[in-house]
């Protein structure tokens, strides 16, 4: 018992220590600041992908497209909303990160934030296309990199910009309640050096990268991060390590090198063909694949079995911050959108929550793998959609096999048990806070 307490103490003091680092603190503040936008984005994604897409879960089960008036208009509208709100979230992240990074040292946070946002856009500019056209008018931004995919890079850009401002701007910034033209101009004068250095630095990096990668620095990143996932065979260890690595990437804000791999792989198609011919999922040729194990059983509520985290928080946590985030995020989490939890709690860059975030899916993988190996349940062979509630995928994907539903339930329970001690750690923080207060 005392060992557990010791470990808990170590973890807590480690987090405390980390929180006192200026740039780390700025990172966490940025994520929390992004929470409302990410939450709205997640709700929009649920409406768009689960309700108003052809293969959306709610559309499929309630046949929404048949009786909701203006279904396709809703689809287009929510799709647009989703692309705009979620599509530029990384630019906001770059702004906020730089803003928080310089605020503590009383430099000009607004100018730093704007510079970071601009720099991030510069970094994701399609120089290659522009060079091809021979003129700058036909320019484009690499829009896919401005969304949640780009968050890691955006935070990095924000922090680097912040660092440059902290070291290059000499005069501290005085906040004025009512701005005057004179003061604004003097702000510009005080900060021209960091602004120019940052913009030149990132534009040069971007231009250099454009010779190597079609999709900018972010594309280069993802190319590297996707390497380990290119050849996944049907054995447990590669699936195991791929899941671990992928979830680790999620924790540091590199979202989804392997996302839901879907129904498309040849092995899945072969399984489906087999099941359709034989009328049953039993004996399918590829019982253990990323799809049958990871997608279907270790992705409940999104990567990291985050629905279990929501349950753990709502069940036992007394930390009001955690409860607020969990209460707002349970609905998107049902449909496997966990981004609000990632930035709201935040799970990203949190040493305490990262541990169960990595462990819970692995436990699910082992349970599922055992059940498949011992032939306690058939593999998932029938098509399932990305937005299908995670704990139903096993049941529905096997064509309604109750044993698969039981395994999903067991996975969720085990994952909740794994999350629980780490959620309770946060209670201690609250209690300590209360004792300080009293």
């Amino acid at each position: 018992m005392s060992i557990i307490k010791k470990v808990a103490q170590t973890l807590l003091s480690w987090e405390d220590w980390l929180n006192k680092r200026r740039y780390y603190h700025a990172l966490r503040e940025t994520l929390t600041l992004l929470f409302p936008f990410v939450l709205i984005g997640a709700f929009i994604s649920v409406f768009n992908q689960a309700c108003f897409q052809k293969n959306g879960f709610l559309n499929q089960i309630y046949r929404l497209s048949h009786w909701v008036p203006g279904f396709s208009q809703f689809g287009i509208y929510t799709g647009m909303l989703s692309q705009t709100v979620n599509g530029v979230i990384a630019v906001v992240a770059a702004f906020a990160a730089a803003n928080f990074a310089v605020r503590a040292s009383r430099r000009d946070n607004l100018l730093a934030g704007l510079t970071a946002a601009l720099s991030f856009c510069l970094l994701n500019f399609d120089y290659r296309n522009t060079a091809k056209m021979g003129q700058v008018t036909a320019s484009q931004f690499l829009t896919p990199n401005l969304g949640s995919q780009g968050i890691f890079l955006a935070l990095l850009v924000g922090l680097i910009t912040g660092w440059l401002f902290n070291h290059l701007a000499t005069k501290p910034h005085n906040h004025q309640l009512i701005e005057t033209q004179h003061h604004l101009l003097s702000r510009a004068k005080d900060n021209w050096l960091p602004i120019a250095v940052t913009l030149v630095l990132f534009s040069l990096i971007s231009y250099g990268v454009s010779f190597m990668s079609k999709n900018g620095l972010n594309g280069l990143f993802y190319l590297v991060f996707q390497l380990p996932f290119s050849n996944l065979s049907g054995v447990l260890i590669p699936i195991f390590s791929a899941t671990l690595l992928s979830n680790l990437f999620w924790v540091i804000g590199i979202i989804g090198p392997i996302d839901f791999s879907g129904n498309s792989s040849v092995s899945t198609v072969q399984n489906l063909e087999y099941a359709l011919q034989h009328g049953s999922a039993w004996g399918a040729p590829n019982p253990i694949t990323l799809h049958t194990v990871f997608d279907s059983f270790a992705n409940v509520g999104g990567p990291g079995m985050t629905l279990a985290l929501v349950i753990a928080i709502l069940w036992r946590s007394r930390n009001q911050d955690l409860r607020t985030v969990a209460k707002a995020s349970w609905f998107p989490s049902l449909f496997n959108f966990n981004q609000p939890l990632l930035v709201g709690l935040p799970i990203m860059f949190s040493p305490i929550l990262a541990i169960p975030f990595l462990l819970a899916p692995l436990a699910s993988l082992i349970i599922t793998w055992t059940a498949l190996k011992l032939q306690l349940m058939p593999p998932v062979v029938y098509p399932v959609s990305r937005t299908m509630p995670g704990f139903l995928i096993g049941w529905l994907g096997t064509g309604g096999d109750w044993r698969a539903l039981f395994v999903s339930g067991l996975n969720l329970a085990v994952a909740t048990a794994i999350y629980l001690p780490f959620v309770l750690l946060a209670n201690q923080t609250v209690e300590r806070g209360e004792t300080y207060a009293s």
């Binding site: 879960f57 072969q270 029938y382």
Partner: protein, 287 residues
Amino acid sequence: MRHNWWRWLLGLVILLGVSWPAYTWTKANIKTLKSAGRTRMAPVIMVPGSSASQNRFDDLITELGKETPQRHSVLKLTVQTDGKIKYSGSIRQNDNQPFIIVAFADNKDGQANIDKQAVWLNTAFKALVKTYRFNHFRALGHSNGGLIWTLFLERYLKQSPKVRIDRLMTIAAPFNMESTSTTTKTSMFKELYQYRRGLPNGLTAYSIAGTENYTSDGTVPYNSVNFGKYIFQDQVKHFTEITVTGANTAHSDLPQNKQIVSLIRQYLLDETVSSKIRKQNQRQLKN
């Protein structure tokens, strides 16, 4: 406590309200899949012309790879004269639109050989369907490859009743062999014409002709390509003829001709191409 009790009940009702329709949906879905499943994999099968090996389309594939966002894996087959098949390359997992190239060990020109090659294509096709279990595909034929495809579609596709063809594109296919005449009918054409009713009704076909001068691409006469209309018109759902002129329109250059590559992207692969290419293709269609 009372408060909590209500919440649990509400949760249970929602859970049932989702689970039950979901269960009936999945059952219904499986049923429809059983009756008419379109497999997700739909390969693009290419057949080169006479005297060309399985590597004939390498340039085209490189050219396509430069522009397309989607990477296609490539499988190459060479059918031996005894019907045995040599494979090289492989289809990557997750690739729903692989390129499969079917070439023939005996790739000589001439009607008798084309008849044989159509039979060999059928052998290879059936082996592919058995291995990869696809039930629809797209076809591309260069030169005599187009004739082989046409013959195959007319006579042998029926032997794989579950498989449908989505699109056919022939590039400089000499439907009337080397004849430059608009009236004389060669026996190759007569054969293709005779079996034309066997073509799948739902087929969408594109025939591309290249012209270096006003009459031919240097090898295949324009009039011979134009004879395709007698075979396809009124037999298939859509038949479109496209003529490409300009640089690189010599017969053997056609598969890697930039305009033809963009036509392949837009019409055969059904890709979303940039408005620039679309405009360029459309401009061409008006000619």
